[in-house]
Amino acid sequence: MQTASRQMKLSVFQRFYILAIVAFVLGPFLPLIIQSLAFRWAWPDLLPSTWWLERRTESPVPLAWDYVLSPYSQVGIATINTLFIGFAATLLCLMICLPAARALARNRFRGKRAFEFLLSMPLIVPEAVIGMALLMIYIRLGLAGSYTGIIIAHLIPTIPYMVRMLTSVYQGLAPDYEEQAAILGAGRLQILLRVTLPMLMPGLVAGALFTFLVSSNVFLLTFFLGQGRIVTLPTLLFSKISGGSLDASAAGIALVASLPGIVLFALSERLVREELFVGGLGR
């Protein structure tokens, strides 16, 4: 109720700023949506001169959304691949980063500083270079063009972020809670499941979400190492727009490609908020 009453008191400026932010966030989607419904949209027309629906029945080939939603566009398989690779990479990334972050946050060891710096190296070296070098290794190992290969490759740009996020979460989590649970007789598994994980949850969800979003946007690594045989939403979109023009079907594919991110954001937004403010530490 409190938030509701605050909303009523927005000043003109506040409203203006909120509108401006909404315009910036949603603005880029508007031309995409119009383009995806257009048959012919030439400059300087504000709106398409001919719409897709006008030509839909007489066209010998599937146009715009008819193409995007048909199996010919490969959007379905690309979405499935993107989700599968994204989830698998996120899970693997969590399994590697959770113990690593704990060690980094709680332990002191020689060369820790240097190690922390090294962790960000994959973000500094251009992806194309990593991709080219990995491809030769992958071809010899027989990993090129395989899901396993792509998932492993997606760990490269995601681990640095995940480790950093989880380290700071661990830093905010004093060992006291775990010690108290141990004193009260909880076993290691119990402590992990009942104390550590719930307290880590908001950071963990945020890290996982971020990892998934990075993974579902990786183009170059997927493209090089998948050898074109593994189609994901970014590779599909790239091969559509590499020509430098955005036609109706490309706009449609772009819109579909942004869906997984939007859905996940909406879901995790609720999850994180509930965990933090409702469940949170008190549970």
Binding site: M136, L141, G244
Partner: protein, 454 residues
């Protein structure tokens, strides 16, 4: 950290070991199949039955054309399934990606039968590269049952595009798939029929009255290279058009080549200030055909020159072209015509399927269906067909807007030798794009020196 890395390494190693054992066996069989087939020791029945036992068929092709994608999935895939072959169409953003993949795999020691590409749709430089690197499977084209649909007799002028791809001898290592011609379209809303240029001199005159309403795709894109070649043909100081450009750079020599191409390049330099401009007043050369299509649709330019005998028809069907788009004959007698092909790389893992696929694509049914649905002209030679089949192909052809197919045939001319294309491209980049002051003779000599045999 250590543990997980060890686990990952183990995982990778075990996957590759398990994979390697089965692959090695199949690869050996593919290699011996290749030798026996090329030696003529395997009948077509055996090829077809072997194809049924192969895993799949990886067809790598440029995936930027929605209509072609629909045709491959809805017509070719079921046709292959009927023959017991699982077609895996791999859409790539550029043909060079598939060529690079084959060469990378070969460099990594993935030899005969061990690669991942079975068939590539290509022509020109990409074929030249594979041929130069000995990365092709072998002379299969004339052994296919449907090779009867092509003219192979060197005495007939029709055989030329079947035997030579941009001047490189095909030796049957690729089979023609589609024919193409460089055709220009204009926007009838802005250009009167009477003003339509027919020669390069006409074009310049038009642009002097209407500056900025023309541009061409930027070399090294092959569509840009082709426009430059036509300009060079038209300004050939000996007046014999395409003729001298059929020879290779070694036969012609740098000096002679420079003499032949200089007037054409000077013309292109002279029209540069009249072309469409980007911000800052520099001429704007679109990177590829999609970008040029966009400028044409937006009436930034009134003309659109590219490979595509039925490009106007497709552009009107998909809305990529303005409503008033029409074809016209330009430049008279010098419209470059060529073919594009299907090639099998040396390390194709499913060579029998690749052969069956290439044979199917050369059939009258597949060719007529592709012509009708996708608007890609046939790669087979209609003169070789029965009267019935010829009629079938004729009926399948999409409409022309403004010209007839007889007009187009009457103005066709051969493409440039692939070894010259590189030199001309390098010269354009140096002389026009970078605005070099060096004489053309020096630029050509440099480019020839750089491309000299390794």
């Amino acid at each position: 950290m250590k543990k997980s890395r060890a686990v990952a390494a183990l995982l990778a190693a075990s996957i590759s070991l398990a994979g390697a054992a089965t692959v090695a066996n199949a690869a050996e069989q593919s290699a011996s199949f290749r030798q026996d087939y090329l030696a003529g020791a395997i009948t077509w029945d055996k090829v077809e039955s072997r194809a049924k036992g192969e895993k799949e068929l990886n067809f790598y092709y440029w995936g930027g054309d929605d209509t072609l994608n629909v045709w491959i999935d809805s017509v070719v895939r079921p046709a292959m399934a009927e023959r017991g072959i699982k077609l895996n169409p791999v859409r790539i953003a550029a043909t060079k990606d598939a060529v690079d993949l084959v060469l990378t795999e070969l460099a990594a020691g993935k030899a005969e039968g061990e690669g991942s590409v079975d068939v590539i749709w290509l022509n020109g430089e990409n074929f030249f590269t594979l041929a130069q690197q000995d990365a092709l499977w072998g002379s299969f084209a004339e052994t296919l049952p449907n090779s009867k649909n092509f003219v192979w007799d060197p005495a007939s002028p029709l055989s030329s595009p079947n035997l030579r791809d941009f001047g490189t001898e095909t030796n049957g290592r690729e089979i023609p798939w589609s024919g193409e011609q460089y055709v220009c379209a204009m926007n009838g809303q802005y250009v009167q029929a009477a003003d339509t240029p027919a020669t390069f001199a006409d074009l310049k005159a038009y642009l002097e009255d209407n500056p900025g309403k023309f541009t061409y795709v930027k070399p090294p894109h092959y569509v840009g290279n082709t426009f430059v070649q036509e300009a060079i043909y038209a300004h050939n100081p000996d007046g014999n058009g395409a003729e001298p450009f059929q020879k290779s750079v070694n036969e012609l020599g740098a000096e002679e080549l420079a003499r032949l191409i200089a007037p054409g390049l000077d013309y292109l330099k002279a029209i540069e200030p009249l072309l469409a401009t980007a911000d800052g007043g520099k001429p704007r050369y679109p990177e590829d055909t999609a970008a040029l299509d966009n400028m044409f649709l937006n009436a930034e330019v009134y003309f659109n020159c590219k490979f595509g005998i039925y490009a106007v028809n497709s552009g009107l069907i998909t809305g990529r072209y303005p409503e008033a788009a029409r074809e016209f004959i330009f430049p008279e007698k010098l419209m470059i015509k060529n073919k594009n092909y299907l090639a099998i790389p040396l390390n194709s893992p499913n060579p029998a399927s690749a052969l069956v696929f290439a044979d199917y694509m050369s059939s009258v049914d597949a060719q007529a269906s592709k012509l009708k649905t996708v608007g890609y002209p046939v790669g087979i030679d209609p003169t070789q067909l029965s009267a019935n089949d010829r009629e079938l192909v004729k009926i399948a052809a999409p409409s022309h807007y403004g010209v007839t197919s007889e007009d187009l045939d009457a103005n066709a001319v051969a493409d440039t030798n692939a070894s010259l294309v590189d030199i001309i491209e390098a010269t354009w980049l140096e002389y026009i794009e970078r605005g070099s002051d060096k004489p053309i003779a020096d630029i050509v000599a440099d480019a020839v020196g750089k491309s000299a045999p390794e």
